[in-house]
Each structure stands twice: as structure tokens, then as C-alpha cells.
Symmetry: C2
Subunit: 284 residues, 2 copies
């Protein structure tokens, strides 16, 4: 496997959650496998953007001629970890026509009246689409575990339901990539502070951010459990150090490129007779 | 009014459809009001992108604190005119979280069983969102007129229904901007030919493109009628020369910037006590 520019090892290998994974041992401020600093990272992001854009266009193009493949990027993280930046930089660099972004907030009254997957299933990407979940059904085993809104039996049921759901998507042709942006508590504190000292960022701050921050160890335990229960062969988790935003972006970019690259996507031949159409064009 | 970089007149003024507008007299290969060439246009697109991104972020931010404003860009054009490029370059340059893109294809069986606005109403942007329609309800008075799928009485009913619908959106706080990308038939022929001579573009070609091209004068007549019937004070049409893709992009960018700039958007103050939260943060 050829390595992307600036990497000594592929982030898909380095950051994938495997057996024996321990979240507490993962660095948040590192740049695993990348030889450069911020300047090189920013350059890599730009240079690799067209590769991702081309793969996404091929995925979309195939679907116009019967292709059934799709992809889904699930993003989870503590507040301020940079989900928005990932969405803006990576997803913003591909054709918006082929992206289906869903931001999951606290459930509405109607959503809360249904099973937790009720609102998630319709958000699954159709053929040719790159779906992106900004938060997801994992909130139902994270914040729900931290606050005791679901008991142990219910949480076990949800882990199984999630694995079943993701297996269904995989069977339907969807490549599922799950990313936890792993920001450290010190870095989070700095970012929250920045939001309270810049009038253009006040709107991003909510007092509940600090309430949730107080549950940090419980969240980390909940994530650890999530990884143990739901990092599967067909829908693996990647834990991406996120204190350096530039690194998180190139790491997720490469993870996506590798996932799409593995689909053996091709430019469709078209379903028309090329010579006939070229001749028609001459008379048009 | 200050003029954007490189412009001697504002595209919002030059390209707006007013009384006595005649589509047949509009150039397709011009760059009205812009002093530079392609290189300057491409540079302008990059330089002005952050301005549009900031306005869109403010629109979104206001909505988090009760703001009701939104915006809707409606794109119509003959095939190959560059709608996709506008969506990719302009919309891709703002935060995807705040964009609601809807691509209207031929109606499904279910959609066709309802009034033509049935599928359009749910696509209207909610508070804080920049909605984008890639094609729209105007297909129901364009292709339907060209092919005689709706008679004169029905077309008149639809023009009125469209004006009522857009007035409703305006009343609800949506700024509606309607853009027709005006590509010339010669340029279209070249672009179709390019699609038939590049294997990475075959998938974008459909034999029906040439079928529709044969109806060019009828389409132009249908557009002329659309402009006469539906270019209103609250939802004006802009006809943007589109033979030069770079020009169409900066013109639409400036039209959007001016539309959003007119909303007097502000960064929200937040709904918390700044000093209290800063103090909490120190102990967090």
C-alpha cells in the first residue's frame, strides 16, 4: 500500500480501534504517522482534497448507472473537538450534490417518542452518496449512559441494535467509517475560553458545555465501552488525536480516501452508444 | 454602495430582470461590470469566499438565538450551464451545516400525484439556513410549457401559485434570489462534446440532453415568460451570462453577498452571563 504524502504509516492502520484498545492510553496532542508540522499538514490537506473529491464523484457517478455503493462517516466527539471543522474542510471540498449531512441534536418530542434508531434510519445515505453524521445514534449510548437515562440492560440492547443496524447498512452497500475526535480536557478548556473571549464565537458557547465537561471521566468510560461493543470488522472505529486540528483533518481525510479507494470505483461507460451520440452532436 | 473587487458596477444591478427585459438581447459570453479576465475572476472568487462564508455563519448563528431569517438561491438553466459548478464552488465554500441543497429531478410517481409545489414546500430553508434549489418549481412552467404538458390556463395558475409561494417564504423571513445561468447554444454544444470525449465525463451525458437542445427557442420563450410573470420585488430574477464559468461564479457570489449583506446580520450576544461563564471556566 502506498502511503499518502508526509505519512510514515497509514492513519487507517495506526488509529483503528482493535482488540485491547484503551482510550485512556491514547495521546490527544500527537500526530501519529505524520512527519511534518502544521504547515505541512495544511499543505497535505489541500493536496489530497482533489483525490477525495474524485473518489466521491466516482461513487456518485456509478450510482447514476446502477451502482449501489455508498459511504457513511460518523463523527463523535466531546464539545469543541472539531467536528464542524472536519465537515467544513473535508466535506466542503467535495461536490455538495453527493453529500448528505445530518446533524443530530437533542431529539425532538416526536423523535423521543420512538425507538432511538427511528430518526437515524432515514438519514442513511442512498446509493452514490457520502453520508455524514455530525453526532449520531451513539449519543444514545454515550450521554444516556453518563446521565443514567438508560440502564445497563437497555444499553446492552442498544449496542446490539447499533451493530445490527450498521450490518444492515453494510449489506446494502454502505461503507461505514466511525471517527471519534479525541480532544484532551486541557485543549477543550482553551477552546471554550476562546469562545468566551471572541464576540464572533459567543454563539457557539453554551453553559451546558461546562456541565457536560464535569462528566469527562464518565464520558471517557462510555466511549471505551462503545469501542469494545461496536468496533466491528464492517464498521470500525478510528480514534483520531484532535488537539491539533490540522492533524485530525488530514487523518480523517486519509481514512476516508482509503475507505473509498477500497471500493474499486470506476468511471461509468455510460448507457448510450458513444459513436451514435457523437454523430448526433455534429448535426445538433 | 461600495463595489466588490474588480467590478465597475454591481452584478445585482446589472443582471437583475426589470421591466422590459428581453432575454434574446442578453449576451451569454460577456462579463458585465467586471474589468478583469479569467485569472482576475478566479482570484476574486477566492478572495470574496470568506465574505460569503461569514455572512452565512452570521445567518446561522442568529437563528440559534431566535433569528428567523433565511435565504434561498434558486438555480435554473439549460443543461451544461454550470449549476453544479456554482453549487460546488460557492456553496462548498460555506459551512455545510448551514446549507440545505435540494436537487429536483423528474418527479417520482408519488410526487407527480400531487400538486407541483407539494415536493417543493418541504425543501424551503428553515431559520438560519441557506437553501439552494438545483432546478426547482420553475421546471413546471419551463419543460411543461415546452412539451405542452400543461396548457395555457394551467400555466397561468402555476405562475400565480409560484408568486404566492415565494411571497409566503418572504413573509416567513426568507430572502429569495433566483438565478438563470444563461449559456449560449454554441457553448453548450462545446460542453456536450467535451462530455463525449472524456471518459471521466461520460456519466454526465444523457441522450436526452440533445433532445431538449432541439427545443432551444421554445425554452428561451418559456424563460422569457417566466421572467415576465415571476420576477417580483421580493423574489427577483437575475440572468447571469454563463459562457464564462468564472464570471458566472463571481456574479452569483456577489449577488448572494449583497442579498445576505442587506439583512443587517449581527453576531449574537449569547443568552448567558459572560462574566459568570468566564468565572465558571476558571474553576472547570
Amino acid at each position: 500500500m502506498s502511503l499518502p504524502l508526509g505519512f510514515t504509516d497509514h492513519p487507517s492502520e495506526l488509529l483503528r480501534v482493535g482488540a485491547g484498545f484503551t482510550l485512556a492510553q491514547q495521546p490527544t496532542n500527537a500526530a501519529p504517522g505524520f512527519t511534518g508540522g502544521k504547515a505541512e499538514g495544511v499543505a497535505t490537506l489541500s493536496q489530497r482534497a482533489p483525490v477525495l473529491a474524485r473518489l466521491q464523484e466516482q461513487l456518485f457517478a456509478e450510482s447514476r448507472f446502477g451502482g449501489k455503493k455508498s459511504a457513511l462517516l460518523i463523527l463523535q466527539a466531546m464539545d469543541t473537538a472539531g467536528k464542524g471543522g472536519i465537515v467544513g474542510r473535508l466535506v466542503g471540498a467535495v461536490d455538495p450534490q453527493g453529500v448528505k449531512l445530518t446533524t443530530f441534536k437533542a431529539p425532538t418530542e416526536q423523535e423521543a417518542a420512538h425507538d432511538f434508531l427511528w430518526r437515524v434510519r432515514p438519514a442513511a445515505p442512498g446509493a452514490g452518496m457520502l453520508g455524514v453524521f455530525d453526532r449520531s445514534h451513539y449519543e444514545d449510548v454515550l450521554i444516556h449512559r453518563v446521565h443514567g437515562w438508560a440502564d445497563g440492560t437497555e444499553l446492552e440492547r442498544r449496542y446490539r441494535a447499533i451493530n445490527d443496524f450498521e450490518a444492515e447498512m453494510a449489506t446494502a452497500g454502505t461503507t461505514v467509517v466511525k471517527v471519534m475526535l479525541n480532544v484532551g480536557p486541557d485543549e477543550q478548556l482553551q477552546r471554550l475560553s476562546a469562545r468566551l473571549h471572541d464576540p464572533t464565537k459567543y454563539w457557539k458557547y453554551s453553559p451546558t458545555d461546562l456541565d457536560e465537561r464535569a462528566h469527562w471521566p464518565a464520558y471517557m468510560a462510555a466511549y471505551q465501552k462503545v469501542f469494545e461493543k461496536t468496533s466491528t470488522e464492517i464498521a470500525p472505529w478510528y480514534v483520531v488525536p484532535a488537539d491539533k486540528k490540522w492533524y485530525a483533518r488530514i487523518a480523517v481525510q486519509e481514512i476516508l480516501i482509503k475507505a473509498l479507494g477500497g471500493l474499486n470505483l470506476q468511471w461509468p461507460a455510460g448507457d448510450f452508444d458513444l459513436e451514435v451520440e457523437r454523430a448526433r452532436l455534429k448535426d445538433a
